[in-house]
Amino acid sequence: MSATVGPSAYWYVTRSTGVVALVLLTVTVVIGVLDVARVGGPTWPRFVVDGIHRTGSLLAVVFLTVHIVTSVLDSFAPISVIDVFVPFTGSYRPIWLGLGALASDLLVAIVLTSLLRRRLGHGAWRATHWLAYASWPIAVIHGYGTGSDVTQAWLEWTNAGCVLVVLAAVLARAAIGWPQARRVRLGAIAAAVAFAAALALWLPGGPLGSHWARRAGTPASLLGRPTASAQIGSMAQTASAGRTASA
Amino acid sequence: MSLPRLLAGLGVPGATTLASHEAVHGDLPLDRARRSGRLPAAGSLVDEIRLSGLRGRGGAGFPLATKLTSVAAGRGRPIVVVNGCEGEPASEKDRVLLERVPHLVIDGATACARALDAERIFYAIDADNAAARWALESAIAERPDAGRRGSSSSASGVVGIPAGYVSGQETAVVNFINGGRPLPSTTPPMVFERGVSRRPTLVTNAETVAQVGLIARYGAEWFREIGTDQEPGSALVSVSGGVLDPGVLEVELGASVDSLLAGAGGTAGRPRAFLFGGYGGGWVDGSQASGLAISERSLRQAGGMLGPGVVVVLPESACPVTETVLVAGWLERESAGQCGPCVHGLAAIAGALRSIADGRAEPDAMGHLARWSRLVTGRGACGHPDGAARFVTSALRVFAAEFADHAAFGRCPACARIPVLPLPSRLAVAA
């Protein structure tokens, strides 16, 4: 496969599986966060809600595996096997790809400890499960930072929807959960609001602004290669052929 | 030797010293044998205890020999914990033993530790009981081989357990010694499998250990000279409430309740009821108590229990409803708060009892109380909800007339009297 034939099939798969994984993780996180409300009833028993939480996370891991494998296989962006596990070491958008590596590392830790929960004991499992609160926002930022399609309306709405439902869930939990732990409650509210505010401040001038592909750390060789312009364009919508040339 | 046995040293001046203790009981035969170089076989004390039929005197009445065998079968060098915690508000017997005849308790603990080849002995006492701590620590320091490393005796120490009704429960004591909070934990593992420092641990009541101090000297046959076939020996009973001379009495198991009351100076006025077994025990109507014997068997048949050896006489002048309400409220607050059925169930029970006492109860409050009492039983990590349910259920049965009267008309003139049943104020020992 040569660069002259445009985007590879792998690249499309990487992008689409990334989006699906984010949606699945969002569903998982929202159910997990709202677990304290003990949602359930005759039509939606609690073990079904719990089953969606478990199956959703495992399915997300499947999509994430495809997402990662295809990103390495794809010959266009220089992403190595090491880059997808060790954060911040690669040459392609190192920060934003690194966040993705970090998020998936955390997710692997969360899923593995959950599968070994009975062996670990409830306390140790629960402690590691708090990592979910770190993994999900890091994954969101990774999506914005590396995402090729973030300025497309459908993805903008998908991303915004994911962020909003998790925010709403965290705020709802802070309102009803942890009745004894006032600090945890205030911390959760503060963290949720801070994350939303940071996104709102960062996005317009960042991934949704101009020249993001270059500023995100895409290697100059890729940006400057006119034959690859179609692929660059799809990687970062702002980097249209004309802008790439002017950059 | 007839009674007193455990309390024989009480009449001797300076009974807390080793010299006067040995003047009463002589030295431990094991010490004598060791000095002469002829140690008895390792299991001989356990065999002697098995023959004696001694059962635990902390309330559960478990055969001590079985416990010792289980501890000995565990993995690792055992630990011995003498449980002198007395969370039961109407119980005084362990305090009397620890403060007045500490050497007898130490004798028994030492004998158990030798039989098990235990590494350490802990004396767990109520943290606020300064007198017991002083008596024990002075007595330990006085022992010829006390605390010396490499000596045949196990190293020993006194541990003050923070006050609380459930903090003297065996897993709570072990948890506290292990550096945790003095709260019960779920079993298994039982403490005889994995207790202090994850070692097999013998946790046994101070009176039980003191009895071992006697059995080690005088033997099983002597021990069984008094008492009944199933429940041999003597027992300490704390008698309080409507008696003229309240206190701790040593009685032969199987002795009549009447003789116990006579020993406590007789009753002050006519007793309305008797509480047998403390706040985890049960009430028996005043008219039914005179034919009973001081034994687990006899008292359980009547709806009470011997348990930790607590008898409270409720005089007719007291209001049984208010007494029950106060104790039930206290039992609710003394829940460790760990198990849902105990937390919610005891709160519901105490609330319903209060509403009956005030005459503002729901029509089916008695039915709810009976149901909740059944509902909490057996559903906690420890026996606290079971005991509370037993106490309340027996009160509803024995005082049915008074409860019906309060449900219909509210408070009675006797409600305002000073309660007979003692309840500790936790404020003084908050530290």
Binding site: R46, F47, D50, G51, W125 | S185, T186, H344, G345
Partner: protein, 65 residues
């Protein structure tokens, strides 16, 4: 085999009663009331699942002592 609950660990999530109503019912506060009868072979898979999904790992399927 029989089901057993750790009353301290249990936080009344109630999934066990949904999955194994044959042996677990809930009291009015949502805590499980365990039927101590042995779990027959045909219920063992459900009982194991009930133990696995317990959010606090309070339920266990144990061999009868």
């Amino acid at each position: 085999m029989e089901v057993r609950v750790d009353p301290i660990a249990c936080k009344a999530h109630g999934l066990c009663a949904e999955l194994l109503p044959e042996r677990v019912s809930l009291d009015e506060w949502g805590y499980p009331i365990i039927d101590g009868r042995p779990v027959p072979r045909e219920l063992e898979a459900l009982a194991r699942r009930a133990a696995d999904v317990c959010p606090t790992l309070a339920l266990a399927l144990v061999r009868r002592a």
